[in-house]
């Protein structure tokens, strides 16, 4: 409710019935409060609808008083007293209605956001990969917001709108049939016009939205590539492209604005027409003694109460559609099955070895990334996985982590297929240091402690020292209390890497995965990280993924992967002997050295 989503085109839900059912299921828990809301709405509206009639009576009394010269002031004052009381009651109940509704909807949004986050943390990696981050994030923020305002509008505006229209019709009919007909006859016309104009402007709106997106994209791109534009003398060309997009947007933007702004003068026109009809027809009817003068004033007020809700209802209709589309997206996400974890059998340690046996895997059925892969790692060994980008190195460790299920083959720990264990217990054996350091917006202390939530301060500092992170941490004034900012870019990449190593040291896992951990830091930092990683790897079974040969040379076993296959394996010396891929790559890495 904080930031209203920008007026987006009303999206249509694909399955109206289902999304209504879903929204109702959300409301089910609030039956009592909702009933109270509706009752408050009815009381508030009914009381406010009666008042103009009484005001009309008072006006008639004044008119009669003027005409007859004998003003019944006591009667008028009594009427006005009642009117004030009615208005006060109406205002109180109107506030109660919105108050209750706010309570209900804030609660619903809160729960939906919790459900969404819980879903995210329990989805399998495969299901998460399918959706883009932006898409999921917009479900948590924008969609939950639109759903909330959709529900609020439905119960506020739609409910009161409908009650008002019914109430006002009844009141008007009680005064005079012909006046009522003359007023109401314009309503369907107004309705029709609004729908037509909205539809028409909608097309322009969508088009301008597209052109606006293109223009913004162009601007973003050229500011990002500012150096290129300048150093290649492309200023004029860039200006030309910009002006073309800018002009395109302008053409569609002003038309969209114009057509969408038309509905308000048209509604205004209709309500002014009503005003004229009421004044003239009312006067004629007064002359014929069919109604009294005060009824004209009452009608003027009623007619205003009539067009406003209609305007509101058409607007709300669009919002409701958006809300339903939003609920559809939310529920679609909530309905995805969470990661299966059928076994509760725990594995606590690795005794002998990890083996991959004829493993086949692809993110899509028809595109295998890992093909018939087999190898063994003894406990305490260091295995290096080498190969070009996209060869499938990282996928191998993801499979070990059981982030994905194999298409065929088996991964075994001590001869037992890891699928037979609880997923979490398999994962709890493995510690990871990845190229993309993931830290969060909190203190350095809490980021390290993430590896072991119940760690004492001494344990955290000891781990940090072992990871060579203590030095740079103590250099800043806040020390371990230093808060990493939102983009976690107030420390360097290398320092972040040291923190993730400290975190992993603290977690004390038996198996380690080091995935390109030093690839984007400079040489001096790399040395420190290498030292830290070396301590980390001591006495642990480690998988090292790297493209720098220096990192892998001392591994007990080097596996060279190409296109999902193992093309070579052995230790450094054996592979140098083979004069294959490894040898050639090493050659190209150092040939310049010799030149």
């Amino acid at each position: 409710m904080a930031r209203k989503p920008r007026r987006a085109p009303p999206e249509k839900p694909a399955n109206t019935k289902k999304s209504i059912k879903n929204i109702l299921s959300l409301l089910r828990g609030y039956k009592l409060k909702l009933t109270l809301t509706v009752i408050c709405g009815i009381i508030s509206t009914v009381f406010s609808v009666i008042s103009p009639l009484l005001i009309g009576f008072a006006t008639t009394a004044i008119f009669d008083g003027i005409t007859s010269g004998n003003m019944n002031i006591e009667y008028i004052v009594n009427l006005l007293m009642v009117v004030v009381i009615l208005y006060v009651i109406s205002a109180v109940f109107s506030y109660l209605q919105s108050y209750l509704l706010l309570d209900i909807t804030t609660d619903i949004s809160y729960n939906l956001r919790m459900d969404l986050i819980e879903k995210i943390t329990h989805l399998s990696m495969g299901d998460l990969d399918v959706k883009t981050r932006g898409d999921i994030l917009s479900r948590i923020t924008n969609d939950v917001d639109s759903l909330q305002s959709g529900i609020v509008q439905t119960f506020n505006q739609l409910l009161t709108g409908v009650i008002t229209i019914v109430g006002v019709s009844v009141m008007m009919l009680s005064i005079n049939l012909w006046m009522t007909l003359a007023t109401i006859v314009l309503v369907p016309i107004a309705f029709f016009i609004i729908i037509k104009v909205t539809k028409f402007s909608q097309d322009y709106y969508l088009k301008q939205l597209e052109y606006r997106g293109r223009l913004n994209g162009q601007i973003e791109e050229s500011f990002t590539g500012h150096e290129i534009i300048r150093s290649f003398n492309q200023e004029e060309e860039s200006m030309m492209i910009f002006e073309e997009e800018n002009e395109n947007w302008y053409e569609h933007e002003w038309k969209s604005k114009f057509f969408s702004s038309l509905s308000s003068p048209l509604i205004h026109f209709i309500s002014n027409l009503q005003y004229v009809i009421i004044s003239v027809l009312g006067a004629v009817l007064v002359l014929q003694s069919a109604i009294s003068v005060g009824d004209i004033l009452a009608f003027i007020q009623y007619s205003k109460n009539f067009t406003t809700p209609i305007e509101q209802i058409t607007r709300v209709m669009n919002m409701i559609q958006t809300a339903m589309a939003a609920s559809e997206r939310i529920f679609e996400f909530l309905e995805i099955d969470i990661e299966e974890n059928p076994s509760s059998e725990q594995i606590n340690e690795i005794a002998e070895e990890i083996s991959f046996e004829n493993v086949n895997f692809g993110y899509n059925e028809d595109e295998m990334i890992i093909k018939d892969l087999s190898f063994k790692v003894k406990k305490g060994e260091k295995v290096a996985i080498v190969g070009e980008t996209g060869a499938g190195k990282t996928t191998i460790v993801k499979l070990l982590m059981r982030f994905y299920d194999l298409n065929s083959g088996e991964i075994k720990i001590d001869g037992v297929n890891i699928n037979r264990y609880d997923k979490n217990s398999v994962r709890s054996l493995v510690g990871m240091v990845l190229q993309d350091t993931w830290l969060f917006n909190d203190t350095i202390f809490n980021n390290i402690r993430y590896g072991k939530l119940d760690a004492t301060e001494e344990e955290v500092i000891a781990a940090s020292k072992e990871a060579h992170a203590d030095n740079f941490i103590m250099q800043s004034a806040e020390g371990y209390g230093m808060v990493l900012n939102e983009d976690t870019d107030n420390i360097s990449h290398g320092q972040k890497q040291l923190l993730t190593i400290a975190r992993t040291i603290l977690s004390n896992k038996q198996i380690l995965v080091l995935d390109e951990a030093t690839s984007s830091v400079d040489t001096r930092t790399e040395k420190i990280i290498q030292k830290a990683m070396d301590k980390l790897m001591k006495n642990r079974t480690s998988f090292i993924i790297a493209h720098r040969l220096s990192t892998v040379r001392d591994a007990d076993k080097i596996i060279v992967i190409d296109d999902g296959h193992i093309i070579e394996q052995g230790n450094h010396d054996e592979l140098m002997e083979q004069k294959g891929y490894y040898y050639n790559t090493l050659n190209s890495q150092s040939s310049d050295d010799i030149a």
Partner: protein, 601 residues
């Protein structure tokens, strides 16, 4: 807030409106007509009641009714006219303001770019301009409408000659005080709410990105609790703010209705004394309602203006920025030019810390120069100084012995080809991107450049490049931008660590291909990798902005400690932890072996 400053900002921003003087006049005219038509209606009603009904004059009622009809029609026509012109003027204004600021930003140097930041410039050129544009449309149709309606209504109400004007004043005061109190109470919470919305976004994003780590550490519950905290804060602030704000609407409606009751009550006493007629009371009620509504609307817009002023100031800042790097008088550079750095220092304007200190070296035809050093050593800054993306703080850069500032920017840049660290391509096709490097390149020339850069992953020159070139990997982007930078024959090629995402094999191939280029031009290569720069004619070792030493690979391997350190970390790395001393000799022997087999190169 400084008033003259604000007025100046507004003055600057209003400029693009100058050419829309006639439509602006029409907008104002239509607005006045519209308000006038609306205002006459209640007084006509008063006439109908007080004259037509009182005198039972049927014809009078019909003729007044006809007049009212005419007013309604004129009113709607002028509103449509108003909408037409205001949509056009505000959209055109946005277009022109955007163009002015875009044009300005294109001329920015790195200094101005960094001062405001690119992300902010993008927002200013898109969102901020759009906010102002929307505000302008609203200003014409609604904001300007309310004071005119309010003043018109006051005049009309006064014309009625009642004693009841004070009721309007009282109502207004009764409305404005709680209005202000509520706003003062809630406004501070709006920024908190915005922060919490951002925090929800931030935490969700963190969780999404960190899923592999969260799963590995089995921290799902921990993360949910972390999110719940923010979510809970958000809920409680939301409730607090809106529970207060929701008082506004029912409260306002109530006060307006009480005003009507008061008018009737006091009107009745006046009527006894014969000072007022029924129709007049009816009309007065209409005007009074309009006056209060108009001023409330103005209040609402006043709340909006600070936000718009922020956008306005942000855009004005862009337009007012003085550009620090401009053309010199000389527009031609003689053939076979040289570029010489003489005691160059560089520090960010206003900063004490020197990024570069006393840098001297010379680029000339046929010579390849390389710069090596750690992150933050100032390598990229040196490169940026050559095409004058930024200017030196001390010392000078000479082109053919004349200060670089004496040349026209485009003349310098025509001699230079530059490939930055972060490969940037533009939306379009492979061809359109290559033409940036050379506007009249033939398909053959493009293909040749692509081959040289080892671009072997595209199907045709018409392959699409999406925004941010997101359909290519980092290594592919680097190769494409390399092709773009070598397609034209230039005197100077500046490569800023632009091989970093290539694997060793590809890099070696590309470097082989570039050999032919280096014979007729001067090359300057920046890198962190020894293998990239090892065969340069001159290698400059940079550390913390200072040249430690320069010379050939062999010379530096002998004499420069830092260079040796870098070499050892990359090529003969880590004896201390990989092997003990004895075994490390294995590797040395291996390289000897390679030396022999690679053909004595």
């Amino acid at each position: 807030m400084n008033l003259t400053k604000t007025l100046k900002t507004i003055g600057k921003l209003i400029k693009p409106l100058k050419k829309s003087i006639i439509p602006l006049f029409l907008i104002f005219l239509f607005l006045v007509i519209d308000v006038y038509c609306n205002l006459t209606l209640p007084s006509y009603t008063a006439d109908i009641v007080d004259i037509g009904i009182q005198n039972t004059d049927f014809n009078y009622i019909i003729s007044v009714g006809t007049m009212m009809m005419a007013m309604v029609l004129i009113g709607v026509l002028s509103t449509i006219g108003l909408s037409y012109f205001s949509s056009k003027v505000s959209a055109a204004y946005g277009r022109d303001l955007r163009k002015i600021s875009y044009d300005k930003i294109l001329k920015f140097s790195n200094f101005e770019l960094n001062k405001i930041s690119r992300a902010s410039l993008i927002t200013r050129n898109t969102n901020d301009v759009y906010q102002i544009q929307i505000f302008l449309g609203l200003f014409f149709t609604t904001i300007l409408f309310s004071p005119i309606l309010g003043i018109g209504s006051i005049i009309k109400a006064l014309e009625l000659g009642t004693n009841l004007m004070w009721i309007i004043a009282v109502t207004f005061a009764a409305l404005i005080i709680p209005f202000i109190i509520i706003f003062v109470k809630t406004v501070p919470y709006f920024s908190i709410m915005q922060e919490l919305t951002d925090k929800i976004n931030q935490t969700s994003r963190e969780i999404l990105i960190g899923m592999p780590v969260i799963k590995a550490f089995i921290r799902q519950d921990y993360e949910e609790e972390r999110f719940e905290e923010t979510n809970e804060d958000f809920r409680s602030v939301n409730l607090k703010v809106f529970r207060t704000l929701l008082v506004l609407l029912p409260g306002m409606t109530l006060l307006l209705n009480v005003m009507i009751v008061l008018i009737l009550y006091f009107g009745a006493y006046d009527a006894i004394r014969g000072e007022i007629l029924t129709g007049t009371i009816i009309a007065f009620i209409q005007y009074a309602t309009q006056i209060v509504m108009a001023f409330l609307m103005m209040g609402g817009f006043l709340v909006m203006t600070p936000r718009i002023l922020v956008s306005g100031r942000r855009v004005a800042e862009v337009i007012n920025t003085e550009i620090s790097i401009t053309d010199g008088p000389i527009d031609k550079i003689d053939d076979n030019p040289t570029i010489e750095f003489k005691g160059v220092t560089y520090s960010f304007p206003g900063s004490e810390k020197e990024i570069l200190k006393d840098i001297s070296f010379k680029l000339e035809k046929g010579k390849t120069t390389a710069i090596i050093g750690g992150t933050g050593s100032g390598k990229s800054t040196i490169l940026n100084l050559i095409p004058r993306l930024q200017d030196v703080s001390g010392g000078e850069i000479l082109i053919n012995d004349k200060n670089i500032k004496e040349y026209k920017l485009s003349a310098i840049r025509d001699r230079i080809s530059y490939a930055p660290q972060k490969a940037i391509l533009f939306e379009g096709t492979i061809r359109s991107n290559m033409l940036i490097g050379k506007a009249d390149a033939s398909d053959e020339e493009i293909k040749e450049a692509l081959n040289m850069a080892e671009v072997d992953f595209i199907e045709s020159l018409d392959d699409e490049v999406s925004q941010g070139a997101s359909n290519f990997s980092g290594g592919q982007k680097q190769r494409l931008q390399l092709a773009r930078s070598i397609i034209a024959v230039r005197d100077f090629y500046l490569f800023d660590d632009c091989f970093s995402a290539l694997d060793m094999n590809t890099e070696a191939k590309v470097k082989g291909n570039l050999k032919s280029l280096s014979e007729n031009s001067s090359m300057l290569i920046v890198s962190q990798r020894i293998s990239t720069i090892m065969d340069a004619d001159e290698i400059i070792v940079l550390d913390e902005g200072r040249i430690i030493d320069k010379g050939s690979h062999d010379y530096l391997s002998e004499n420069c400690n830092i260079y040796r350190e870098i070499v050892s970390s990359q090529i003969e790395q880590s004896k201390e932890f990989l092997y003990d001393g004895g075994e490390s000799s294995n590797f040395i022997i291996d390289t000897d072996y390679i030396r022999k087999t690679s053909g004595g190169k």
